[in-house]
C-alpha cells in the first residue's frame, strides 16, 4: 500500500484510483476512485456501495458532479501533467462554489513544487508521483508564510486580515 499526504501528514493510502480501461467486469473491493464517465454510467449501483469516489480529468468540471457531491467522501482531481492548471480552479470550485467538505485529492503528476498552491486552492490530499520522495514533497507545504490573496483556507486577502 502506497503513502499519501492527508491534512499535512503522511499516511497509508486507503484508496485505489482506477483508470477507465481497467474497469472491465468485476470491480475490486475496498475504496476505489472511478472515472467520471464510469460513475455517471453506473451511478446508482456505485452509490449503494458507499466506498466509491470519483476522479476528474482535465476538462471534467465539478459541476458535472454537482448533484452527487453530498454523497461522495472524496473527489480526486487528476493531473496528467503538472503544467495543466485546470485542476486548481476545479478544486477551488469544489470548496467555495459547492461547499464540498470531503477529501479533495490531487493525483497524477503531483510534485513538491506545486503543493503549496494546491493546498491553497483546496486540495487536502496528495498522491505524490511514485518516483519522488513523499517526505521531501511534504516540505513543499511550508514554502511560504506570506500570502497576498485570500484562498480556500483563509478567504480573506492580506488587507482584510487586520
Amino acid at each position: 500500500m502506497g503513502k499519501v499526504i492527508i491534512d499535512g501528514a503522511i499516511v497509508d493510502n486507503q484508496w485505489q484510483r482506477l483508470e477507465g480501461d481497467t474497469l472491465e467486469g468485476e470491480l475490486p473491493t475496498g475504496n476505489i476512485i472511478v472515472p467520471l464517465a464510469y460513475w455517471q454510467a453506473n451511478r446508482d449501483a456505485l452509490l449503494s456501495r458507499g466506498d466509491v469516489a470519483v476522479w476528474l480529468a482535465p476538462g471534467e468540471e465539478p459541476k458535472d458532479l454537482e448533484d452527487d457531491l453530498a454523497a461522495l467522501p472524496l473527489v480526486a482531481i487528476h493531473f496528467p501533467a503538472f503544467k495543466d492548471g485546470r485542476g486548481y480552479s476545479y478544486a477551488r470550485e469544489l470548496r467555495t462554489r459547492y461547499g464540498f467538505k470531503g477529501e479533495v485529492r490531487a493525483t497524477g503528476d503531483v510534485l513538491r513544487d506545486q503543493l503549496f498552491y494546491m493546498t491553497r486552492c483546496g486540495f487536502n490530499a496528495f498522491e505524490v508521483r511514485e518516483d519522488r520522495s513523499i517526505e521531501e514533497a511534504l516540505e513543499g507545504l511550508n514554502d511560504f508564510s506570506v500570502t497576498y490573496q485570500g484562498d480556500v483556507n483563509e478567504p480573506r486577502p492580506l488587507y482584510r486580515r487586520g
Partner: protein, 548 residues
C-alpha cells in the same frame, strides 16, 4: 513608490530560499529538465542561444536609484557589465549562470526586487504609462491600481499554470493608449462614473505574437471595489477553457475570439456574481494605504526664466527639450526621457557605469526615482525646469540625450538572433543599419513622429505589429528574411499593422525602409505625420511603389 512592509520583504526572502532549493535539486538531478523549466521560467530564467537570460521584474517600470545601483553591481558581478530594458518595462541580463541566479535573487531581494513571474504561463509584470502620476492628461494616477493588481497576481495559487502567458496593462489616459491596453490579454482603463467615482473599463483578448489582435470590452464599468473580483473571474474562465493542446492557440485572445466577446462576458458574469461583494472586495482603507505610497514629491515653485533664455540661445538644447521632455502635471516641472537609442548602441542596452550615473542623476534631479518605458527608454519623471540645462549636459555626456524620442531612429527592437534562442532573424543589426542610413538628425526631425519596431520572430517582443512601420524577422530555408507591416499604432490607440507583401532579404531591408520614407515624403500634406498619410492614402500606393 510602493513601500515594502515586513511581510512583502519576508515573501521575497522565502522566494529566494525556495528558488535556491529548486536550483539545487535541478543541479543534483532531482528535478528533470522539464520540471525545472516551468519553475525557472516563473522566475524569468530562459536558457538562451549562448547563455541563460534572466528577466528581472520592474513593476510598472518604476525604479528607485538604490535599485539602479544594485542592478549596476549585479551586472558587473554576475554579467558582462550591461543589461537591457525590455518592452515590458523590465530589465534583462543576458549572461548570468544558472548556478548564480539564486545569489542574484538574494541581491535583488535586499532592494525589494525580484524576478517573480517575469516569464512562464502565469500573470506577468503589470505595465502602465511610463508617465503615470505626472501625465497631465491622466484622470488619476494608475500606479496604485497597478500595485493592487501586482499583489493579487503575485503567487496567485490558482493562476500559476495557465494555458499560456498572461499580460495585464493599466491606462488612465482618455483617448490615448500609452500602456497599449488594446493589445494586452487584459487591458484596464480607468474611468470615472457619473458621480465621479472611480471604475474600470476592462478589455480582454488583445495580444501581439502569432495572431495579433485588439481586445474586446468585457466589463463596461467595474466599480473600483470589484476590480480584483472581476479580474479573477476573467482569469478563472480562461484557466478552465483556454486551449491547452496547441500553444499557438492558447492565449486568451483565441478563446475570446472563438467564444465571442458576448459569450465570454456571460461566463465572466457568472463567476463574478459569486465573487462580487465577497472577501475580495477592495476596501477604502487598503486603497488609501496603497495610494499613500504614490503621493507627489516635494515640488518647489520654479522660476522658468533661465530655461526660457537657454531655449533661445542654445539650439541643440532646444531641440532636445522639445523632443525628449514633455509636459508635467506640476507647473515648472518636465518629464525627461533618456533615449537609449544612440546609433551603434543596442536599443535598450545600458552599462553598469551608466546605471550608476543615471542613479546619481535621479537623486540629483528627480527625487531618486525613474521609470523604464515600453519603448526601451528611461524616464526621469520630475525634473524642475531650471535643472533641465544641466541635466541635458550630463545626459549628453552619457549618450542618453539623442534628440530622437518618438522619431524614426528611436527604434524599438528585441535582442533578436544575436542573443535569443527563439529568434528567426537578427534585429539589432537591422536597427543599426536603419539608424546609420538616417543619420541626418534634421531630416529625422523633418519626418516627424514615426514608430519603427523590429521583432526577430513572431513572438513580437519588439512589438512590430504596433509600429507605424513594423519589421518582422522570418526564416526562409535557413535564411533571414524580413516582413514589413505598415499602419500599426501604439499611440492614440492600439492597432495591428497590415502586411505590405512578400518579405525582403537582410541586404534589402534598409533600402525598403528608405523607399517607404521617401514615398511618404512625396505624398504627405504639410505637417502630416507618417501614420496620418498612411491612413489617408492606404496601403496600395505604398505597395505599388515598393513592389511595382
Amino acid at each position: 513608490m510602493y513601500v515594502y512592509q515586513e511581510y512583502d520583504q519576508r515573501l521575497l526572502e522565502e522566494r529566494v530560499a525556495q528558488y535556491r532549493d529548486q536550483t539545487r535539486r535541478f543541479l543534483a538531478n532531482e528535478l528533470s529538465e522539464d520540471e525545472f523549466l516551468a519553475l525557472r521560467l516563473q522566475n524569468g530564467l530562459y536558457i538562451q542561444r549562448y547563455a541563460p537570460m534572466l528577466r528581472i521584474s520592474v513593476p510598472y517600470g518604476l525604479l528607485a536609484s538604490r535599485q539602479l545601483r544594485r542592478l549596476a553591481h549585479i551586472v558587473r558581478t554576475y554579467d558582462k557589465g550591461f543589461c537591457h530594458v525590455s518592452t515590458r518595462q523590465n530589465i534583462q541580463l543576458n549572461w548570468p549562470s544558472v548556478e548564480e541566479v539564486p545569489d542574484i535573487l538574494a541581491e535583488l531581494a535586499d532592494v525589494q526586487m525580484h524576478a517573480i513571474q517575469t516569464s512562464g504561463n502565469c500573470i506577468r509584470n503589470i505595465t502602465t504609462d511610463e508617465f503615470a502620476g505626472v501625465n497631465p492628461k491622466e484622470i488619476e494616477d494608475p500606479r496604485p491600481w497597478c500595485e493592487i493588481i501586482r499583489q493579487w497576481s503575485t503567487f496567485n495559487p490558482e493562476f500559476a499554470y495557465l494555458p499560456r502567458k498572461f499580460k495585464i496593462a493599466v491606462n488612465a489616459v482618455p483617448d490615448a493608449d500609452p500602456a497599449l491596453i488594446g493589445v494586452h490579454d487584459i487591458g484596464v482603463q480607468l474611468v470615472h462614473g457619473a458621480n465621479g467615482e472611480t471604475g474600470f473599463q476592462v478589455w480582454a483578448g488583445g495580444g501581439l505574437g502569432r495572431t495579433p489582435m485588439t481586445g474586446a470590452i468585457i466589463g463596461e464599468f467595474v466599480p473600483w471595489q470589484d476590480l480584483l473580483a472581476y479580474l479573477e473571474s476573467i482569469l478563472r474562465v480562461y484557466n478552465k477553457y483556454g486551449n491547452r493542446d496547441n500553444k499557438y492557440k492558447a492565449r486568451i485572445k483565441i478563446l475570446v475570439k472563438a467564444l465571442g466577446a458576448e459569450k465570454y462576458r456571460e461566463l465572466v458574469e457568472q463567476e463574478f456574481a459569486e465573487l462580487k461583494g465577497g472577501e475580495m472586495t477592495l476596501t477604502a482603507e487598503e486603497v488609501a494605504r496603497i495610494k499613500g505610497c504614490f503621493t507627489a514629491p516635494d515640488y518647489q515653485s520654479v522660476d522658468t526664466a533661465a530655461l526660457d533664455a537657454k531655449l533661445v540661445e542654445d539650439k541643440a538644447f532646444s531641440r532636445w527639450f522639445h523632443t525628449n521632455t514633455r509636459a508635467h502635471k506640476q507647473a515648472g516641472y518636465r518629464a525627461v526621457t533618456l533615449t537609449l537609442k544612440r546609433t551603434g548602441r543596442v536599443p535598450g542596452d545600458i552599462s553598469d557605469e551608466q546605471l550608476e550615473a543615471v542613479a546619481d542623476l535621479a537623486d540629483k534631479y528627480s527625487f531618486g526615482e525613474l521609470r523604464n518605458s515600453h519603448q526601451q527608454n528611461m524616464v526621469l519623471s520630475d525634473v524642475a525646469a531650471n535643472d533641465l540645462y544641466d541635466l541635458w549636459k550630463a545626459l549628453d555626456a552619457l549618450g542618453f540625450a539623442t534628440p530622437n524620442l518618438g522619431l524614426l531612429t528611436d527604434i524599438v527592437a528585441c535582442p533578436g538572433g544575436d542573443l535569443c534562442a527563439l529568434a528567426n532573424a537578427k534585429s539589432i543589426p537591422v536597427a543599426e543599419s536603419i539608424q546609420r542610413r538616417f543619420d541626418d538628425m534634421d531630416y529625422v526631425h523633418d519626418l516627424g513622429p514615426l514608430d519603427l519596431n523590429i521583432s526577430g520572430c513572431m513572438n513580437a517582443c519588439g512589438h512590430h505589429h504596433i509600429g507605424h512601420i513594423g519589421i518582422l524577422g522570418v526564416d526562409k530555408k535557413g535564411k533571414e528574411f524580413y516582413q514589413v507591416t505598415l499602419g500599426g499604432r501604439g499611440d492614440k490607440l492600439s492597432r495591428v499593422g497590415e502586411k505590405m507583401g512578400p518579405s525582403f532579404e537582410s541586404e534589402e531591408i534598409t533600402d525598403v525602409v528608405e523607399k517607404i520614407i521617401k514615398f511618404y515624403v512625396e505624398k504627405r500634406l504639410e505637417n502630416e505625420p507618417f501614420i496620418d498619410t498612411y491612413e489617408r492614402i492606404g496601403m496600395d500606393p505604398f505597395k505599388e511603389r515598393i513592389y511595382g
